[in-house]
């Protein structure tokens, strides 16, 4: 990007600058031994054109909407359309969450995102002994289609898109959504949304797992195959780095492991015989936006460039839409503190800014009270306003990829890409992500990184304001609490549904699911049949646990 003689001049001038600087540093040394990102990547004092001398603008940076998409996946980015303001929500029972959905929609959110309670996440119903104490506590209780009907009261499925954070039972929730739409008179060809449906990162990080890896992948490919034909506007997976990062991974590990998971899914779908250009455009991604500002922006840009190369060069996809990494972002929950909770508003704001400067398609901003409980309406509202102020007042959306050209940012983007390729090479050598997971490789990397980070906080090497520095007292805040009546209502409803539904049909369809699970047919039509008759999530998952076995935590630490 720069002429050779210009670079030479810069190099010479830099040498002089370093010399002069060393005299100053003799008297006033730098404040720290090392200046590092939150992921402990060392950052230099200054970046100049020399740091990006190998770069070629067209090849490495390019234009938005054009391979390799470093500057963004859409040609007009936020000038054409703002990112979707999609607030992750779920609390108590479907009634409470429906109320929260309507509240947030009235406050201006532009997409829905469902947080389910643990029993649903794990494939259990509210009446399971495994669910005792867990109902409605950290998300919405959903057992059958009946709950989904209440959840979406007054919400037209042809007018909104919905993301569902759900993994082992993702196919079941998708089936429920399809039937819900059907009942509203909305065709499954029209509905738009996402199921997280990313089991590999469950084994690595989020840990809502149920079945072993192979059958988990089979069900995922069934959903990809089905949606490719029948639900064309649906994002079939949200290939996630968020949870990997929250579990303690560094930014480079988050980047590498997410893309490696993506590679595994593409391979699995192609093994099924699907054409890469048929399904790849509907794969989507989900990243963390952590507190180290530039590291995150570099990470997002590196992710786009890397995925474009993977899809075009490794998988030989021809459709440019197959090369595009579209992603949702959530600001980092693990960066928030219980101490001085109002500081979290600031952290979330910086993290949201990084996500937007990184070109995210969709964004959830955490609430200040999430280190205590499910957010209150007020806290969620502040989080949403954070996005709106970003979009409407700061001007950062006026031009596309505004930080491009920063010597620092471009150098950091390249550096992170390089380090992430190293990890992907390693994982390839192990035989791919499934093999790497079976060996415990990503899990061990994450546990090591998490431990190292805690040690750095404990020693004061890494500062967390309000915790190990400026740790003054703060007044208590009001938090959301789950009410016992909600649990009772949920259990009553489940009993009633099971009594009033056509139990003969339910049994028939569950038997069908069992049979199809054992053969090579696609499960989706059968799951849809079952949920339409109000089969419960656990009833279907119990069939799978029985047929495929369970995965249990190997307990690495």
């Amino acid at each position: 990007m720069f002429k050779k003689d210009e670079l030479k001049k810069v190099e010479e001038e830099k040498e002089k600058w370093v010399e002069d600087l060393s005299k100053i540093l003799g008297e006033t040394p730098e404040r720290l031994q090392r200046f590092t990102t939150v992921s402990d990547l060392e950052i230099k004092d200054l970046y100049t054109p020399v740091d990006i001398e190998e770069m070629d603008y067209s090849r490495d940076v390019g234009f938005p909407g054009v391979y390799p998409f470093t500057r963004g996946v859409q040609p007009s980015m936020y000038r054409g359309r703002l990112w979707t303001m999609r607030m992750f929500s779920g609390l108590g029972g479907p009634e409470e969450t429906n109320k929260r959905f309507h509240y947030l929609l009235s406050q201006g959110e532009t997409g829905l995102s469902i947080a389910f309670h643990y029993p649903t996440l794990m494939g259990y119903d509210s009446d399971s002994p495994m669910s005792r104490g867990e109902i409605g506590k950290c998300g919405v209780a959903i057992d059958t289609l009946k709950d989904m009907e209440i959840l979406f009261q007054g919400i037209p499925l042809d007018k909104v898109t919905t993301s569902m954070t759900i993994n082992p039972p993702a196919s079941i929730l998708l089936a429920m959504y399809i039937v819900l739409a059907e009942n509203q008179g909305v065709s499954k060809k029209e509905i738009g949304g996402t199921i997280q449906n990313d089991m590999l990162k469950e084994f690595i990080a989020q840990k809502t797992f149920m079945l072993p890896p192979k059958p988990s992948l089979r069900i995922i490919v069934d959903t990809i195959e089905y949606c490719t034909k029948e639900v064309p506007r649906w994002n079939t997976i949200s290939i996630s780095g968020y949870h990997i990062r929250e579990a303690g991974a560094t930014a480079v590990q988050e980047l590498a492991f997410t893309l490696a998971d993506g590679i595994a899914y593409v391979e699995a779908a192609m093994e099924r015989g699907l054409n890469v250009d048929d399904f790849a455009p509907r794969l989507s991604f989900f990243f963390d936006s952590h507190i180290d500002f530039f590291e995150e922006i570099a990470k997002f840009r590196a992710a786009r460039r890397m995925w474009a190369k993977i899809m075009r060069e490794r998988f030989l996809a021809k459709n440019p839409r197959s090369w595009m990494l579209r992603f949702h972002t959530q600001t980092a929950g693990c960066s928030l503190t219980a101490q001085q909770p109002y500081n979290n508003v600031i952290r979330t704001a910086y993290e949201a800014l990084a996500a937007v400067l990184g070109g995210t398609q969709s964004l959830h901003t955490n609430s200040l009270d999430e280190t205590y409980a499910i957010p209150t309406e007020e806290a969620a509202s502040i989080a949403l306003r954070t996005q709106q102020i970003l979009a409407e007042e700061t001007g950062v959306v006026n031009t596309i990829d505004p930080l491009s050209g920063s010597y620092f940012l471009e150098a950091l983007t390249c550096q992170m890409e390089e380090q992430a390729w190293e990890y992907i090479r390693k994982i390839d050598e192990m035989g791919g992500m499934v093999a790497a997971i079976e060996r415990g490789f990503p899990q061990a990397e994450i546990a090591d990184a998490a431990y190292k980070f805690q040690r750095q906080i404990d020693s004061g090497e890494k500062v967390v304001v309000g915790v190990n520095k400026h740790a003054t007292e703060h007044p208590p805040i009001t938090i959301w609490r789950m009410k016992p009546e909600i649990e009772e209502r949920q259990l009553r409803r489940l009993r009633e549904v099971k009594q009033t539904r056509n139990n003969q049909k339910v049994k028939e369809f569950l038997d069908q699911i069992r049979m199809v699970s054992k053969n090579a047919e696609n499960l989706m039509p059968h799951i849809i049949n079952a949920v339409r008759e109000y089969a419960s999530i656990q009833e279907i998952c119990d069939v799978w646990r029985d047929v495929f076995g369970r995965y249990s935590d190997p307990g690495y630490f």
Partner: protein
């Protein structure tokens, strides 16, 4: 002279909660501090935790919960320890536990709770001060 017996601790994840970052960091931190540590892994029922604690003959159980079910699960573990005649195994906890929930847990017999921001050193020192060998 025989070496001093190390404090044995079971770090456990009761219920469906999958947030294990803290439990693992604490487990490793305790091990590095010289305690003997057994980690149960995820998705343990209170029954499984109590059985493991008795079988491993631990001095204390550390329960981790970040999904809000501590109010049921922690007292349940203590109740079962009592049923099995193992109430001398101390129980402490960690994770997301609102201030308002602490009195009830303390009443139920939970000896201490480590909330977000606790350093490894704080937790280690607390154990050294508060956890004794089982008789």
């Amino acid at each position: 002279m025989s070496p001093e017996r190390k404090i044995r601790i079971l770090i456990a994840k009761p219920g469906l909660d999958g947030h294990d970052r803290g439990a693992k960091v604490i487990a490793r931190g305790f091990r590095d501090a010289g305690f003997e540590v057994i980690y149960t892994g995820l998705h343990q029922t209170p029954e499984q935790i109590v059985a493991a604690a008795i079988q491993e003959d631990v001095d204390a159980i550390g329960l981790s919960s970040l999904a809000g079910a501590h109010d049921y699960l922690f007292p349940r573990v203590i109740e079962l320890l009592r049923e099995k005649g193992a109430e001398d195994i101390a129980v402490f906890g960690g994770g997301i536990v609102p201030e308002d929930d602490m009195p009830a847990l303390s009443q139920a017999g939970v000896k201490g709770i480590f909330t977000p921001g606790t350093s490894i050193e704080e937790a280690v020192n607390w154990v050294r001060k508060n956890i004794k060998h089982r008789k």
